[in-house]
Amino acid sequence: MFDSLINEHFLSILIFLPAIGAAMVTLMPSKLQGAMRIVALIVTSINFLLSLPLYFNFDGGTAAFQFDENYFWIPAIGAGYHVGVDGLSLLMVLLTTFLTPLVILSSWTEIRRNLKGYLISMLLLETGMVGVFCALDLLLFYVFWEAMLIPMYFIIGVWGGARRIYATIKFFIYTMAGSLLMLVAILFIYFSNGGTTFDLLAIREQIFPIQQQLWLFAAFGLSFAIKVPMFPFHTWLPDAHVEAPTAGSVILAGVLLKMGTYGFLRFCLPLFPNAAREFAPLICILSLIGIIYGAWVAMVQPDIKKLVAYSSVSHLGFVMLGIFTFTIQGVQGGLLQMVNHGLSTGALFLLVGMIYERRHTRLIADFGGLARQVPVFTTFFMIITLSSIGLPGLNGFVGEFLVLLGTFLTNKLYAAIAATGVIFAAVYMLWMFERVMFGKLENEENQKLRDLTAREVTVLVPVVIFVVLIGVWANPFLKKMETSVDHLLRSVQQRAAVAEQREQSRPRANFSAPPIEGAP
């Protein structure tokens, strides 16, 4: 009986187990700090272990949603609790469940003030994140997408750095600005579909007129573009990343940014295929600007954390570029790069947090010659740096290579520009590495620096394992997503053709005010 319960509600358990953990932590007395940490760690670890069968039992041969659960939620308006995973979301769910216990372990000594609230926020955040990646109902997705902001808002605002309040309000308002327009678009879709369902699978059947698609894509796309963040909408990111506590930065970079790119794949491409094609050149150019701009700005940052933050803008540019090549290599590379960025940038933030906890500075100028003093730290930093710049044999290479390949197939100029981004990445990362690790150990405070503790090594080793594993043997991961990606691209093509056909057969009337069926 227990077996069937788990099998039938697999995703629900993954989504709500952390929330149950949060409830447990809530009920514990605030003085039992150690016990609360352990409960949170155990709950999130169990969640990770539970999510492993998701990977192994996932059938990569079909593009259908698996581990499907579909219940009524608000039947009066046709909103359902519909969750499921396919090749696009599988790795995102796993990345989330993988990173959460690690960040809780990483903040073992960093967070002391109001620990209870912190752990509750983290656990609820995981519920929200897994929920976003699993939701197959537009309203459910929106609720998870928004609700997740609240714990993140507290994590940055309460446990963050000096300018945390500015950063967290900026983060919240930027994200809301996009999502509220998405809400209007969701309502529009709902009523143009007869006002009966929010279910993605039902809405996917519908093909919107091209003019409507453009507006809807813009509304959804703005929301996702802010989250990614794409070039002109990125200004919240450096603030939020720098001010957030380490765990917050890791989750932000590792998971939250991926929600933007995931949103494009899950909603924008399949629902609005023609608009996606129309917007593709713009998005590609913005991505290229992001790649180069992010890299250049990262290069001149005196603060390591800020450098890593800007590098995210650059890396996510690659992901967006890959997705909007509409080639199987590009999209697969983009998806893999989403995982890779989560691992390597997440790990970079972890490493920066570890050194910050010791020295209370993140300025590159304050360091130098650390390699001799903290060799273990340096080794990990080296591996992650190399992974981040895409050294063959490590994970970053596979993703970037696929993205560049996909781009090359569609536009050689784009590929050439993006490739320079790879070079710049190597420059800013290696230059930073050199200034921090090599040279003379001059600063006296650095001479007292302790190397990594066993706990910190425990946090980093799993990440490094995956960094190497994906680097040398990415095939199993790619296989899991291949069918879904292929299906996605095919349906984009077919549906775009259908919409165009309909457009041509229709008399060219004015499309200015699309009427909604069922409106009085």
Binding site: G157, I173, L181, L183, Y190
Partner: protein, 482 residues
């Protein structure tokens, strides 16, 4: 037609409350030292009885007292909202009266009379009944607003409310007179009948009458440009009374407005749509923009309540079943979240100083974690962030408007939500992200307030996650309005 016992049975909720109000006045005279909780308990029992009868009467639809009053799902639905609002207000009041040395039995009686007025407004099928209800409500609120007799803000509050309220009543009465002149009846069904026959729609007299009615109700629901009184009145009134005004009185205004607009079928006329469209957009925007600059929490909530009137008006404009049911859902949710927010102010205030400035909330999360958590729930709900009732309410209202084709109004609405987010988050920032100042901690509050806050917070989360039952009830109600 004549009056039957059934009429009295169907109007039981306001009847019970009115009788109880008189009983309390007498009790206060006879037993001046009556213990405060026993009076409050009595009021709560009376409200529970009223709630019981409202639920009993659910589904009936009949005209009572020669067509002056109706008992239908609409009136029962609003009665439930008023009873909830009044009960939460009473729970808050026990503490407030104690702390402010305002303990008079009349207070509870007047709260009950105000509730009766609200119920009559929602149940009135004749404009004169609506007017009587409005006057009963208004006069009760004039007294309540000035209940802190030794406080100059309270006097200003009461006087201002009285003056503007008198104007509003004047407008309303004038409007009723014009409508009567134009159609020969002030009965809403007769009005609907004569409008349906079509001949009078371009009658300038009727139009002028309806506009004046709109202005009269506009004062009560505090839409721009009839909103000026709200901040000053809320600031001076005892906090629970301000909460009651912002929720119950607003809901009653919307009830009457909806009845009249539906009866007059004004949405058949595009000019009305446009006028209300502009009113809603201006109300939302102005309320939110001014709220951004407020340092005083009561004034902030006053401007936010103006903005919320704008959102609710969007649901009214949608003028479809979704719109009407969403207005009720919104008012129900708003009752919980707004009374909750005022309740926190009341809880943290005492006679020497009220916790009005945003600075007073610095570090509240460290001093009173549960109160801060409740306030955070209220703020997120007011801002309309899931998983709270505020989100669901906004979602339904905006959804109805999208369905009716008011896409731009909805876009203005969501952008306004974004604006409002800034000041609601500001409260949370003060509570959670600043260290506490060195003000003395407020004296302990009575458990009744804590109970009210708990009820409100749980209701908000419940309605935010499982809104189905209430929504279906209200949809059923809206369907019966045709």
């Amino acid at each position: 037609m004549n009056v039957t016992t059934n009429d009295f049975f169907l109007i039981a909720p306001p009847l019970i409350l009115a009788l109880l109000g008189f009983a309390i006045l007498l009790l206060g005279l006879i037993f001046p030292r009556l213990y405060r909780e026993s009076l409050a308990t009595l009021v709560l029992i009376g409200l529970a009885a009223a709630l019981f009868f409202s639920l009993q009467n659910w589904g009936t639809s009949s005209a009572l007292f020669n067509g002056m009053v109706v008992s239908d799902k609409f009136s029962s639905g609003f009665q439930i909202i008023f009873v909830i609002g009044a009960a939460l207000t009473v729970l808050l009041s026990i503490n407030e009266l104690e702390k402010q040395y305002l303990y008079y039995s009349e207070y509870f009686a007047i709260i009950l009379f105000a509730t009766v007025g609200m119920m009559l407004m929602a149940a009135g099928s004749h404009l004169l009944t609506v007017f009587l209800g409005l006057e009963t409500l208004s006069i009760s609120l004039y007294i309540l607003a000035g209940f802190r007799r030794d406080n100059e803000f309270a006097l200003e509050s009461s006087f201002k409310y009285f003056l503007l309220g008198a104007f509003a009543s004047g407008f309303l009465l004038y409007g009723i007179a014009l409508v009567y002149g134009a159609t020969g009846s002030a009965d809403l069904r007769a009005l609907a009948e004569s409008i349906r026959s079509g001949s009078v729609f371009d009658n300038p007299l009727l139009m002028a009458g309806l506009v004046l009615l709109l202005i009269g109700f506009g004062f009560k629901i505090a839409i721009v440009p009839f909103h000026m009184w709200a901040p000053d009145v809320y600031q001076g009134a005892p906090t629970p009374v301000a909460a009651f005004m912002a929720t119950g009185s607003k809901a009653a205004g919307f009830a009457a407005l909806l009845r009249v607009l539906i009866a007059a079928n004004v949405f058949a006329d595009v000019r009305w749509q446009q006028a209300l469209w502009v009113l809603a957009a201006v109300t939302m925007t102005l309320g939110n923009i001014i709220a951004l600059r407020q340092e005083n929490l009561k004034r902030l909530l006053a401007y936010s309540s103006i903005a919320h009137a704008g959102y609710i008006l969007v649901g009214v404009i949608a003028a479809n079943e979704q719109g009407h049911s969403s207005v009720l859902f919104y008012l129900l949710s708003y009752t919980f979240m707004n009374i909750g927010a005022f309740g926190v102010i009341s809880m943290l205030s005492d006679n020497s100083r009220e916790a009005l400035l945003l600075n007073d909330y610095r570090g509240l999360a460290q001093r009173r974690p549960l109160v801060a958590l409740a306030m955070a729930v209220f703020m997120f709900s007011l801002a309309g962030i899931p998983p709270t009732a505020g989100f669901v309410a906004k979602f339904f209202v905006f959804g109805a408007a999208v369905k009716a084709g008011y896409l731009w109004l909805v876009i203005i609405g969501v952008l306004n939500s974004l604006l409002s987010l800034y000041y609601y988050l500001g409260v949370v920032v003060n509570m959670y992200m600043h260290e506490p100042g060195d003000e003395p901690a407020p004296s302990a509050a009575l458990p009744a307030v804590a109970l009210a806050l708990c009820i409100a917070a749980f209701a908000i989360l419940y309605l935010g996650v499982f809104p189905t039952r209430e929504l279906e009830t209200f949809q059923d109600l809206a369907a019966s309005m045709k």
